[in-house]
Amino acid sequence: TTRSPHFMGLDSASTMSNLVTESDSGSNVVIGVLDTGIWPERPSFHDQGMGPIPSFWKGECTVGENFTKANCNKKIIGARYFTSGYLAKMGSMNSSTDIKSARDTEGHGTHTASTAAGRAVGDASFLGFAKGVAVGIAPKARIAAYKVCWKRGCMDSDILAGFDKAVEDGVNIISISIGGSAVPYNLDPIAIGSFGAMEKGVFISASAGNEGPRSMSVTNVAPWITTVGASTIDRKFPADLVLGNGKRITGSSIYRGDDPLHDINNFQHLPLIYGGNASVGLRNGARHSSSFSSATCMPDSLDKERVRGKIVVCDRGGTPRVSKGEIVKDAGGVGVVVANIFPMGEGLVADAHLIPGLGVTESAGNLIRDYINSNANPTATMTFSETQVGVKPAPVVASFSSRGPSAESIFVLKPDVIAPGVNILAAWPDGVAPTELSSDQRRTQFNIASGTSMSCPHVSGLAALLKGAHPYWSPAMIRSALMTTAYTQDQQGNPLLDETSYNISTTMDMGAGHVDPEKAVDPGLVYDITADDYLNFLCASNYSGRDIKQITKRSGKCRGKHDHKPWNLNYPAISVAIYTTQLQEPAIVQVTRTVTHVGETPSTYTVSVTNPKGVNVTVTPSSMNFREKGEKQSYVVRIKAEKKAVTSLNSVIEVGKLSWSNGKQHVVSPLVVVW
């Protein structure tokens, strides 16, 4: 990736980052990427200067179609593929789009693998956009590709096989940018596979999902998974739509063409039409395009007579954004504007449209439609700019990033953290168009993509660096370091914003906040969690013995009338529920946490608390003195609700924080109260 390592503080110009140095860029760590495979010839995957493959590695490079053992090296040390579940579902594979090997014919797996652990490649760009040195977060970490996804998706049975083999092979980190709907942990093969992996010390980084900004949309929420939401970096790809009335609307695009529209010197206004006003009429006496399908520029929905020679405004939804330009082009249109609709808000992603095209926000879309509706002859033109860096504010929570709280347990904060996931440049295979459209004949070494799929491998790479620097840290300790050092204010000291509305983002949007690699390498204290702790959590969450056996391979017996509470899972965030409808007297919830000192020298930490609204929080003890590395101490948090009248039947979430500091380090936990 270009820019995001710099944005995360990993390429400090004067001195190499502590984390990168201490971990030797993750050289002894293996990241298993469960995805669409890999394109091994990309320079991001060269192995020059890399040391021998770690001795613990038991994986292999499986030979398949257009993929030999020679495609692996000291960088790509494993490559396997899993077809059985997919073939059972689909009946057969389309040999023109899917090939039976770990070779990536989709692009997604190459993009995520290079984001996590690509080597440095100079003068990288996508059609000149996002130019720079492209490098993964852990450039010396080893990659093992497990191809579990194919043209039409990824089957649970193949994903589970990928987990099984990856852990057997000896991966240290699993990166999985795949999801479905949230279901109980015992019915979710990703949660089940992750538990088995976590038990063997493997850190699981998973994408939170792209169903934001809808509340409770977060997926991959098992507490043993690190769930990653997406945010912007300080880079934009601006493009303007200039209306006939002179109003200039800035959107986003990575369109690059030789069309006159692209050349600002040939600036010319063209007729502008809204897709919803250009639906095909009765055709052959049978077909009629609904206003929804034409508004979203679905295939065959636009009337060629009305669209020809015009710029067409299409609402988002229904089809991929880039395909709307293709539909407009096929109908004779010359430009496309893809407008957000509710609830997407003000979030923008840059697309490599095939015709002059750009994306605009929801408010801009409303303004454009108003202009069209109030003018007899609406016109517009477009101008395209170069890449902008140093953009403020940044980071901003991506509008599409899925939001908490977790539908499975309100006592586990999800997502855990956010990381760069908007307009990320990373490696791309041969033979796959950057838009993935069959009509797109362009081929590029890099592509720019957006999604929590892109933020997840940033955290996978970061986890590899932390594992390299601290080989004996457990998966929970790595996550703790990421969460307790995450930031919730930008460099100007302003709260991180939500791209949907540019209001202040909440803990449900960003979890503990944006990852901060340099702080995570030296967090001071961590919250460790063992497999037994997770069993206690499942017992306390009313999972039956059978449910637990389905997840954990263990006996699943919850000891007698256990006294575990789900909020006592030693998570780096605290989340409790207070039900005021039953509140006669002020309610008190008591929470216990245990911290492990991971600093090199003795240290004394004192606590400070920011109370969530309507509660009073006390912590005992308020100070902890650690003499040696590895020492554990516990504290108790008493959360006392103020007696108050219930004003709403809807739940209300109030957030505060609890911070332990020794003057140098601040170990911060979000403190969430659900009323």
Binding site: G85, C154, M155, D156, L160, A161, P189, Q550
Partner: protein, 91 residues
């Protein structure tokens, strides 16, 4: 429809493996065979094949079954769960 097969993921409690089987895979195989052999709608020998056998993070296997077979399998000793195999998407 009746007899239509889809793939399932079967979680097995390996410590319940009868001693007559030398390893769990034989046990799984025997279980699957006995289930499918008596199904009058069985069409091919391929029906008795596993999609995957899981050994590391998960104990069990995946296979194509009819809904009736899946229900029946869920009642077998040692079978902890029978989950329909679902399609997921990249994020």
């Amino acid at each position: 429809t009746l007899g239509e097969k889809q793939s399932y993921i079967i979680r097995v409690q390996n410590d319940l493996k009868p001693s007559v089987f030398s390893d769990v895979e034989h046990w799984y195989s025997s279980t699957l065979s006995s289930l499918i052999r008596y199904n009058p709608l069985k069409s091919t020998d391929q029906d008795e094949e596993f999609l995957h056998v899981y050994k590391t993070v998960f104990h069990g296997f995946s296979a194509k079954l009819t809904a009736q077979e899946a229900q029946q399998l869920a009642t077998f000793d040692g079978v902890l769960s029978v989950l329909p195999d679902r399609l997921r998407q990249l994020h």
